[in-house]
């Protein structure tokens, strides 16, 4: 069975999904990722799904739960590089990944993570300005 590699960059774990996910692979990824977060004490997780072109409801839910699990382990999670077709499919399936941060690419994802880890109040600031 294929395993998705999990790379550590400083405080951040980078998961880059380069193949079309099978159900078993996705389950294994969730296991691996949660143990790795605990092991390394990572503060942020970046899941790059830019190569993922096909999702079904199971994989969609797995992305959502994987992100939720990481958050429970106190690691900010950002899903990056989602393809438009995948986004449309997820919305049609009713999976809007509520509470999961998203970014256009790994670069912006890292920036988002470092600002979120750097100062916890950044969200509030965004809202404050938005309501002006």
């Amino acid at each position: 069975m294929d395993r998705i590699p999990i790379l550590r960059i400083g405080d951040v774990l980078l998961v880059s999904i380069q193949i079309d996910l099978q159900d078993q692979t996705a389950l294994a990824l969730q296991d691996d990722l949660s143990s790795k977060i605990v092991e390394t004490g990572a503060k942020g997780v970046l899941i790059d799904i830019s190569a993922l072109e096909i999702v079904d409801s199971f994989i969609g839910r797995m992305i959502s739960t994987t992100a939720a699990v990481s958050r429970v382990l106190d690691a900010e999670t950002v899903v990056v590089g989602m393809q438009p077709a995948v986004a449309i499919t997820l919305v049609e399936l009713g999976l809007t990944l509520d509470g999961v941060r998203t970014a256009l690419d790994v670069d912006r994802g890292l920036a988002l993570l470092s600002s979120a880890l750097g100062k916890a109040g950044s969200d509030v600031e965004v809202d404050d300005l938005a309501h002006e």
């Binding site: 449309i88 997820l90 998203t102 256009l104 965004v126 938005a130």
Partner: protein
């Protein structure tokens, strides 16, 4: 009048009926057909069409064969198909299209009334059935052509109405004009998401100034687009909400949730720029 196709001397084929009175039939046919078009075609043009139909019809006369789907009528069918298509594209009405063949009945009947006999009327009855079928055939082709034209236009409209424009670095706008249905929303959504990914923009403004009405379905479509953009990591602002639309939205109980809505495109641009600006501040 002798009859080539039928052994019964009292029987007369419609083909020979037409052939015997060729000049008269053609003249009256052209007259009737042209009269119904109210001057939109010259008698000469009509005469050419009628002449062609006449020749094909006479060639198709193989005695008792009256099924216009049969091979004998292949020439006639392709001729009529061509005619109906031309008429449909020129904007003629269905009646004006079919009258080209139906006028034949009037013409023949007029001749029969002048000097007809019983075999002549029998032949007319058979001819009448064929002409009816041919008329229906023309109408079907006409309808098919019109549908094709409408489909083409709808497609052209879809492509025309989905421009995604770049307003600033990282800010794109989608000015929506016209009614939003599922098919259009799909195209619009794909165009917007693709642009967001291609340009790496984090802010999108959906301007609905040109959307005539917002009902629950349209709102649903908008929400889906915004959610899909969020999944990509981009934020949407909905702008151009007119007072009436705001009232309708509230009356219908539509919840835009935490999606930012602005009255004018200018406000939306300001908000998007401030948001981009904050990013710069944050990274300092």
């Amino acid at each position: 009048m002798d009859d080539l196709h039928s052994p019964d001397p009292t029987e007369q084929s419609w083909g020979s009926l037409l052939r015997t009175n060729r000049e008269e039939v053609l003249e009256k046919w052209t007259q009737t057909a042209a009269a119904n078009l109210g001057g939109r075609m010259t008698p000469a043009e009509m005469g050419r069409d009628v002449d062609e139909i006449y020749s094909a019809l006479v060639r198709a006369d193989t005695g008792d064969q009256i099924d216009i789907r049969s091979a004998a009528y292949a020439d006639l069918r392709s001729l009529l198909t061509e005619l109906s298509r031309t008429r449909a594209r020129q904007g003629f009405s269905p009646t004006e299209t079919a009258v080209g063949v139906y006028a034949l009945k009037d013409a023949v009947l007029e001749i029969l009334e002048a000097h007809g006999d019983l075999p002549g009327y029998r032949a007319f009855a058979r001819l009448s059935r064929i002409v009816d079928d041919l008329g229906m055939f023309m109408l079907e082709t006409y309808a098919t052509t019109r549908e094709a034209v409408i489909a083409e236009q709808a497609e052209a409209l879809l492509e025309l109405s989905t421009p995604v424009v770049k307003l600033w670095d990282g800010i794109v706008a989608l000015p929506l004009v016209g009614t939003l249905d599922s098919a259009r929303t799909q195209v619009v959504m794909e165009a917007l998401l693709q642009t967001l990914v291609d340009t790496g923009s984090e802010h999108a403004i959906i301007d609905i100034t040109g959307v005539p009405a917002v009902d629950t379905q349209v709102a649903q479509h908008l929400l889906k687009t915004v959610q899909a953009a969020r999944l990509l990591g981009a934020e949407c602002i909905i702008s151009g909400i007119r007072p009436q639309i705001a009232q309708t939205v509230v009356a219908l109980g539509i919840e835009f949730g935490d999606i930012h809505t602005k009255a004018s495109l200018a406000d939306a641009i300001l908000l998007a720029m401030r948001r981009s600006g904050l990013d710069v501040v944050k990274s300092r």
